[in-house]
Amino acid sequence: MRAPFASLLRILSPGAAVVIALALVSSVVVWRMKVEPRDGMLFWVFAPTHFETYQRSVPAWNREHPESKLTMAQLSGPALEQRLVSGFFSGTPLADVFEVERVMAAKAFTGPLEDVGFLDVTDRLHEEGLFDQINAPSFSPWMSRGRIFGIPHDVHPVMLAYRADLVEAAGIDVSSIETWEDYFRLLRPLQEDLNGDGRPDRWLLNAGDTNVEVMQMLLYQAGGTYFDEQDRPILNDSRNAAILARLVTWFTGPNRVSTDLGISSALTNQQILNGTVIGCFLADWTAGSWRMELPGLAGKVKLMPLPAWEQGGRRTSVWGGTMMAINRRSPRTDEAWEFAKELYLSPENAAALFRKTMIITPVKSLWNLPVFDEPDAYYSGQRVGRMLIDLAPDVPPRPSSPYATMAQQLMGNTLIELRAYADQHELYTEEALMPEARRLLEIAQGRLAREIGRNSFLTAKEAP
């Protein structure tokens, strides 16, 4: 055995021998290194505003529960999502408790129910009476096959923000608006060509066929949906076809009333500030973002319930959603559950969250907190909290199916194709567009059903 090593040493320079020796030693050290077990619980948050709001609560929890101390860490949304996926799929380390966004959570519901990485909290919610305390529609994104996998963080009702300065300068009174038809008719004089090039430079609504978020808000508001109560896909529902046909008449043709500025980018904000649109969809959390990102609009903008699709119809929709979930594999699920309850049921936290972000709590008993009745100078002195709470019970349910994102995309694609069809054939009425809307939705339905059918982990009984 001496011969090979001797020949090796003859070949190697002293420097190379040192490098190889260091590499071998460090490899052994890393291999043998023991990772110290974490002291207490770990809590991951993705939203910076939530992180700031909880800064007060975590030290208080640690003082009162020295036996189950908690460390809070903020991760970016994509980082949290990737870590969750890795943790659930391959067992890499995860936090004990985390706040999860709606789209992230749905991915965990793709496989068998027993493989969902979140702790099933259905029985706990019912046994402790929490289920009845929380706004019912807020549970919908966190349910899969009848089980609930987290405590809802929010309600996220949607309102319409409008440029009160422009509307009032034109002498228009919006209090009589009940339906979208009223809104477009009353505000039509504001859709103007400001630079004389023959094209409007100001539109009545920030919406377009390429904006799937806005499409979804309007679809939910109008009673459209992707799945039935058993979570079977129903894209081809006639209600959906009628909604898409109506939307196309808003987005193109002689009665066009909208333009798509996108959502939440610097360029979007600049155009909103410029007055390119009169009305924008705003959930409670985006209302909070506007205060931070668009200070130039302070006192110039007001909120109103969404105009309904027909007289007496729903005056709100829903946008986004977050829950507090517990890692099923955590050794401290009971402590994590207690922490989650303390964080979400505390009146102080609910008030602090609203002040910081304008997000209203889904806990109904906290809706009478004085903070929700405070006038907001940014929104021209309106009591925005109360307006949002008044709409909360009417928020439409959101699907929790892992195929909801795909359904949204297919519905969005259908809208784009229908708009192209309208322009190609110069058909700009709902009635004229209905047959094509139905045909396109049948194709989308077929694609979605085929994709769901490919999932061999879900039996027919379990299928989402």
Binding site: P4, S7, V85, S90, K107, P112, R199, D260, R454
Partner: protein, 298 residues
Amino acid sequence: MNMPVATRRWNWAPLFFVGPFLLIFGVFILWPMVSSLLLAFQQTFGPETTRWVGFKNFAYLVNDPRFWKAVSNTSIFTLGSLLIQLPVALGLALLLNRPKMVGRSWFRLIFFSPVLVGLPFVAILFSPIFEKRIGLLNVSLNMLTGGAWDPEFAWLQVYVMPALILAALWMYAGFNMIYFLAALQNVPKELTEAAEMDGCNAWQRFWHVTLPEIRPIAGFVTLLSIIGSFQIFELSLLLLNGTSGPSDRGLTIVMYLYQTGFIAGDLGYASAVGWVLAIFLMGIALIHRRLSRGQEED
């Protein structure tokens, strides 16, 4: 006469030198390739929960409209790259190969520099340029056409592939120009001078002398462009804010692979997509090799 008996000694030196390569190749290339091939025949919910499905992933892929949309988009991008980017690169190289041109070293640096900044920079730069109404491109075109150009022209919503081709042109035209410049500098001057003395005009000299001489490099650049274009991912992903754009107009094959494997968690189907792409690119490379060999024999 007694011959010395050769002592049989094991020579470790070759193994020592080849060892690191074999180790790295085995761990990071061979093993993942074998794993992904096996995965392509399974359905997965992450790597832990898997089910053997045979050829079902491939069968599904054949009838998957999103996959074909990705193939169609990627092919359009590749064609755009070949038909626009390469002629532009060759044109720039011809221009900057002229010995009497003032400041040609600076121009070479300027045209090459976009490739130094990287794709994320290009995406961030071009995103506001393509914006509707207030984007530089629409505003400029509107001004240049005396108001005829619609400032609402939706580059990143409707005309996604042309937008990607434009952004890639800015980035890679200078990069490919360097290859063509190197090739042009190797064209023997005697040939072009002889052609000139024979009365050939500039176009004839280019067509009958320069082009045949740079054909091997042109073929190589074409192959690189095809392979690179079929692997387009980051530019599209970043320009479209992590999505595949409205109606999947910006969906490319690698983006589809990424969405399926790392967003939806279906590693099996993503592996099937990856293998189809790999086999296709291998086919392109083989065709190129066959054509190159034919040219050499000619």
